[in-house]
């Protein structure tokens, strides 16, 4: 809400009263949006902030003093001095009546419907609907329709809000859905068996469907909405940095859902990003710090202090250059720490590999939103901090030079899937910070367990140089730590400086590490992130 305490009749603002609460909103705001600012959520189906408003669900009708009829609050613009009531007898009776009509053909599927617990129909009827329906006619039965991709359609449950049709037409600009037939025979369908074909953003219609008519095949019957924990994070599957919520239950990731950010992804995310989360549930983690014994072969477990001191001493006495293979899933804090480690050791470089595709996949109806060619979240972050992209479009190769490096090799996050067990055999020290084991670790001297991005907090920098915060609530192995925290401890052992152990400090250290981050602060990150300064010398790929 915009704080506004100058003269009431300012040109840009309109004063009105909603349910006895006086508010002042920008000119052009609809009553429904204004009511939110007054603390009232007006029930609605067809309205969605990211789509057009046909005002056809008839649920958002409110009483406006002086108007002869109830007005649809999603399209009626506020006027000065308006007095709006959403809770009057007339308005509540109307909503009760409209809800009764919605339930005439709606099946009592709650026990078997995925939407239960996050269903607008359930919520509205529970709070305002009639206790018993009066219809005694048999309900229409449409069954289940596979729309292709990840989308299943249960026609019986549909409330004909047409959000899905409008999304496909206005936002993805592939009108593959339409309302078919007329009147109470109407139903949403694709062109016969064509389905949703090659639509790349169709998963969003499952999000915006207010009831359980459109559901995700992947999520079908997997978990109940009320059991899920939501953690705000950033999608790891490309460089767009779509804001997401990670939904977990019992420490297992159940799904990704988009989170609204009007500067990055609006309300949307692509199917590619949405569907790639299973790897976060992979077991077989590195549980504790390991190191090889001096005669090679056996790996013994150490505690962190032993391990870090042991490694730190070796690094201090080595004097060699450090080559780092970072992962594009490393956070800015992780990469910043490797930069400082290189500085502390007197020189080195950072490379990274990433899978890429040949084409971007834009969402035409939301400017700037696309699936980027780079299929990892922190490509720009790595580049800004001086890392170099190597390897091919599958994210393999590019490591010839490093695999022959005779001094210090640090692998952070990269799983080395394409490397053999001989990797790093020339190196004086091969250090591996990772979440999962790899075949190529036979020559590793130290293996440290780190957290995935879903288990900790940090920041990624997206393709537009926007730095955004992610948080994680998954619990990794109890000995796993964020990579930056391990590296900061090492740096502290080598240089004697203080080691910051919270992520805010780790982020704020970046302003000292890189010019591009100068003047930034962790506290500036919420809610929309912020953009880094443009450096004309950095080439963008």
């Amino acid at each position: 809400m915009t704080e506004h305490n100058s003269t009431p009749k300012d040109d840009q603002y309109v004063n009105l009263v909603v349910d006895d609460v006086s508010i002042s909103v920008e000119k052009g705001t609809t009553i429904l949006e204004a009511a939110k600012q007054a603390g009232t959520e007006v029930p609605h189906y067809c309205y969605h902030a990211g789509l057009s408003s046909p005002a056809q669900c008839r649920l958002c009708l409110v009483e406006v003093e002086g108007a002869p009829k109830l007005m649809p609050s999603c399209t009626t613009v506020v006027t000065e001095g308006q007095v709006v009531r959403t809770d009057s007898d007339v308005a509540t009776k109307m909503r009760q009546g409209v809800l009764e009509f919605y339930l005439v053909n709606h099946p009592l599927d709650c026990p078997i419907c995925d939407q239960s617990g996050e269903c607008d129909l359930q919520d509205f009827v529970f709070s305002e609907g009639r206790k018993h329906g009066r219809s005694r006619a048999a309900k229409r039965v449409l069954g289940r329709d596979d729309f292709g991709g990840d989308v299943l359609f249960y026609g019986d449950r549909c409330v004909m809000c047409t959000r899905c049709v409008r999304f496909m037409e206005e936002v993805e600009e592939k009108p593959l859905l339409s309302v078919v037939e007329r009147g109470n025979r109407s139903v949403i369908d694709t062109f016969f068996d064509q389905g949703l074909g090659d639509a790349e953003w169709a998963g969003n219609i499952v999000d915006i469907c207010p009831v359980g008519a459109l559901v995700s095949k992947d999520f079908l019957y997997k978990a109940r909405a009320w059991d899920l924990e939501h953690t705000p994070s950033i999608c790891p599957n490309c460089s767009m940095g779509c804001n997401i919520d990670i939904h977990t239950r019992d420490n297992v990731v159940q799904r990704f859902k988009p989170r609204e950010n009007k500067d990055v992804n609006g309300h949307w995310m692509c199917d590619y990003g949405r569907s790639r989360y299973e790897w976060l549930n992979e077991g077989k983690r590195i549980e504790e710090p390991l190191s090889t014994t001096s005669d090679g072969g056996l790996q013994t477990s150490l505690n962190w202090e032993e391990a870090l001191i042991g490694l730190g001493e070796k690094l201090k006495s080595s004097g060699g250059r450090l080559k780092v293979i970072a992962s594009p899933l490393s956070s800015n804090e992780d990469v910043g720490a490797t930069v400082r480690l290189i500085q502390a050791l007197g020189g080195g470089e950072i490379v990274f590999r990433s899978a890429t595709t040949s084409k971007e996949v834009p969402l035409p109806g939301f400017k700037g939103l696309k699936r980027t060619k780079y299929l990892a979240p922190n490509i720009e972050g790595l580049k800004v901090l001086g890392a170099k992209y190597v390897g091919d479009e599958k994210g393999s190769g590019g490591l010839q030079a490093i695999s022959q490096h005779t001094e210090i090799v640090l692998v952070m996050g990269d799983r080395l899937e394409d490397q053999t067990e001989k990797f790093g055999s020339e190196a004086e020290l091969l250090i591996y910070l990772g979440s999962h084991f790899s075949e190529a670790l036979q020559e590793a001297d130290f293996i440290f367990p780190i957290n995935t991005f879903a288990e900790t907090s940090g920041t990624f920098t997206n393709c537009d140089r926007r730095v955004q915060k992610f948080s994680g609530s998954l619990e990794g192995p109890c000995e796993a730590r964020p990579a930056w925290s391990v590296l900061n401890d090492l740096i502290s052992i080598i240089t004697g400086s203080e080691s910051s152990q919270n992520v805010a400090d780790a982020f704020n250290q970046l302003s000292g590490t890189s010019e591009v981050f100068a003047g930034t602060s962790y506290s500036d990150l919420m809610p929309q992130g912020f953009k880094l300064k443009h450096d004309p010398q950095m080439t963008r790929d």
Partner: protein, 226 residues
């Protein structure tokens, strides 16, 4: 008090009047309208429910292509020509199949799902093949008050079909229609493009026989007549 006049309408002959089409409609309006649509402003008005249908005919060729192009010039956007184009396709093919929807969609640069949504909204587009004569009996209030339901029953009996089905000889389909705007002349029946007014149950048999007789006179090639 004289009994209600039987309005010959366009049918020409429903028993009481021996009027020719020219008598009723004026000589200028008798006969075939040009297949290629005449003046573009009126290209969408050619009667389009013919007894002869060709479900395999291409969209569009020859004079029909000319008519389609004329129709396109009358609207600022291609999408607005959708209804006349579907009607033209139905004129040629007799009904709008999924393939037809697909072809019309590519002609007008629309998605097939969109065209399906529009086609299924309107009653006049037949989504299934119909008999050579589509008999639509108005049973709405004004005609209902004057015995429309008996007329409907008579049609069903005389053609030997069930509502919405095609008769065994392929000649007739009988459906109920909503108000045809012939309320002053109950019961109003539309058969293909013609209105038959003041129809009573006892007229039905004779009417059907006349239609069957016309079928053998009009050859399939004579597109342009009813």
């Amino acid at each position: 008090m004289s009994s209600p006049k039987k309005n010959p309408g366009w049918a020409g002959n429903t028993g009481e009047y021996e009027l020719t089409e020219a008598d009723v409609r004026g000589t200028a309006f008798v006969g075939k309208r040009p297949l290629e649509g005449g003046h573009p402003s009126a290209s969408a008005t050619y009667p389009y429910m013919l007894a002869a249908k060709d479900p395999e005919a291409p969209l569009f060729e020859g004079p029909y292509l000319e008519r389609f192009e004329k129709i396109l010039t009358r609207y600022p956007k291609k999408r607005a020509a959708l209804l006349p184009t579907l009607s033209l396709a139905q004129e040629i093919r007799g009904y709008v199949s999924p393939e037809t929807m697909d072809e019309v969609a590519s002609l007008l640069e629309l998605s097939s799902a969109y065209v399906r949504g529009v086609t299924t909204f309107y009653t006049m587009y037949n989504k299934q093949p119909v008999g050579k004569y589509l008999i639509q009996v108005c049973t709405n209030i004004s005609c209902n008050l004057c015995g429309a339901e008996d007329v409907l029953k008579a049609f069903l009996k005389e053609t030997g079909t069930a509502l919405g089905e095609i008769s065994l000889d392929g000649n007739f389909s009988v459906i109920e229609a909503e108000c045809l705007a012939g309320c002053g002349f109950p019961t109003c029946v539309q058969i293909n493009s013609k209105y038959f007014e003041n129809v009573e149950s006892q007229d039905v048999g004779e009417l059907l026989r006349t239609l069957v007789a016309e079928l053998s006179i009009d050859s399939v090639k004579e597109k342009g007549d009813e």
